[in-house]
């Protein structure tokens, strides 16, 4: 297998593309906006990071051959599900998307709606992976098998987005420190 190397400081030459942060176009009915900042262990913002998101459609399905249920006919088959946003000089990023549906698991459990999030930056020799969960899904979050695998409530809380007064969802990413985000071995 080929090992990982850091994305370095100059990925913005290639990786961002104009509609990268727009999983759906601004103004799409039901669209949600995720905002956040990326921080290092000293509390400094990270201005050269990259956030990528991957998720199901609102119907809880993936337009992908390895989702054995397949895309819903006439449903969200055109939903790209993938977002990519570099961080700005103030460490901020923004993704516009649709809220995904819940997902079945092979052993009969149900995963609460979530986005898988990859984080890349200079100084990260491999991507780190986290998940974004939704604050209005308390019932589903309470039985989500991944959230339930994290025993400390304060750690679990790092994975749940926070509603902003303007209706956006805030998901800050702390690579290190007191508020360090939960990262996964994927």
């Amino acid at each position: 297998m080929t090992p990982s190397q850091t994305v370095g400081p100059f990925f913005a030459m290639r990786l961002p593309w104009p509609d990268g942060p727009f999983v759906v176009a601004d103004g799409t009915p039901g669209a949600i906006t995720i905002v956040g900042r990326m921080y290092d262990g000293a509390g400094n913002v990270i201005p050269d990071g990259l956030v990528e998101t991957w998720q199901a459609g609102p119907d809880g399905r993936f337009a992908h051959p390895d989702d054995p249920r397949g895309a819903t006919p006439g449903g969200y088959y055109a939903f790209r599900g993938f977002g990519r946003c570099p961080t700005a000089p103030d460490g901020s990023y923004r993704i516009v998307t649709l809220k995904p549906g819940p997902l079945p698991t092979p052993d009969g459990a149900i995963e609460a709606p979530h986005l898988d999030v990859s984080v890349f930056a200079r100084g990260l020799l491999d991507r780190v992976v986290t998940r974004l969960y939704f604050p209005d899904e308390q019932t589903a979050n309470a039985v989500d098998p991944v959230l339930c695998s994290i025993s400390e409530p304060a750690r679990r809380a790092t994975l749940i987005a926070v509603p902003e007064p303007e209706g956006e969802l805030r998901f800050d990413i702390w690579l290190q420190g007191e508020r360090e985000t939960v990262f996964f071995d994927v």
Partner: protein, 246 residues
């Protein structure tokens, strides 16, 4: 599009059988690697939490040909004139660790010009920009997992990691594979580079054989007379195990 969410979306099938992907251990660099100074404040200190491979992890973005234009894989044809430097043909295959080709997958690359200069606003290396070279490319693998770029051999460049630190010449690669688990960002190096033993980023990969897999091979077969040197480099992503119930 309405936000209607229904649990009836689950009821179409009986059992849910998903592929499972290998979990490489000891392959990737440790996130905490003192030799690379920027890791100090950017590596998580808490242990990673195991994430089982379920629907979100075994699927992934299948970004396609709509992103690719004709000159994306020929970095020498993106401007009015030809760039300075040694023209190279770089070709190879994207495979999984079971040896199966990964077809139709997007590859994104970026690199310095022949003088070791990136075209980027935060680049301060006092080497000349080349008006005929952007240093960015894209390709999609074919049905056999093959890709091919034409570009210029990148240069080495200094960086502030330690006194007299120089990065060996390299090309950055970004790959998606077919699943979220297979996402890979890496760097490809050139054979015989005397800077390789001195580079903390290259040497952050703990296993010697794995480090060697980041180095392309010079290929006389791919070299074209009177025109360009050839290099081959295969990229190997995680393999899929047999379908299992988790």
């Amino acid at each position: 599009m309405t936000a209607e969410v229904s649990t009836t979306a689950f009821t179409g099938t009986g059992e849910l059988v998903l592929p499972s992907y290998e979990r490489p251990s000891g392959l990737h660099p440790p996130l905490d690697f003192a030799g690379y100074r920027s890791t100090v404040l950017r590596h998580p200190k808490r242990p990673l939490v195991l994430l089982p491979h379920r629907l979100t992890e075994v699927t992934g973005p299948l970004l396609g040909a709509d992103l690719i234009t004709a000159t994306d894989s020929d970095l020498t044809m993106q401007h009015a004139g030809e760039p300075q430097g040694q023209r190279i043909i770089l070709a190879g295959r994207v495979l999984d660790s079971d040896g199966r080709p990964v077809p139709d997958t997007l590859i994104e690359i970026w690199q310095t010009n022949a003088a070791g200069r990136y075209r980027h606003s935060r680049e301060h290396h006092p080497a000349p920009l080349d008006p005929n070279f952007s240093g960015i490319g894209r390709a999609i693998t074919d049905a056999a997992g093959r890709y091919r770029f034409i570009t210029i051999e990148p240069g080495a460049y200094p960086w502030g990691n330690h006194h007299n630190a120089w990065r060996p010449a390299h090309i950055h690669f970004s790959l998606f594979g077919r699943a979220f688990t297979q996402r890979l960002v890496t760097q490809m190096y050139f054979p015989g580079d005397p800077l390789l033993p001195l580079d903390p980023i290259f040497n952050s990969v703990p296993d010697e054989k794995a480090r060697q897999r980041m180095i392309a091979d010079f290929s006389m077969d791919l070299t074209q007379p009177e025109w360009a040197l050839g290099y081959t480099w295969d990229i190997v992503l995680r393999g899929r195990g047999a379908a299992v119930f988790e």
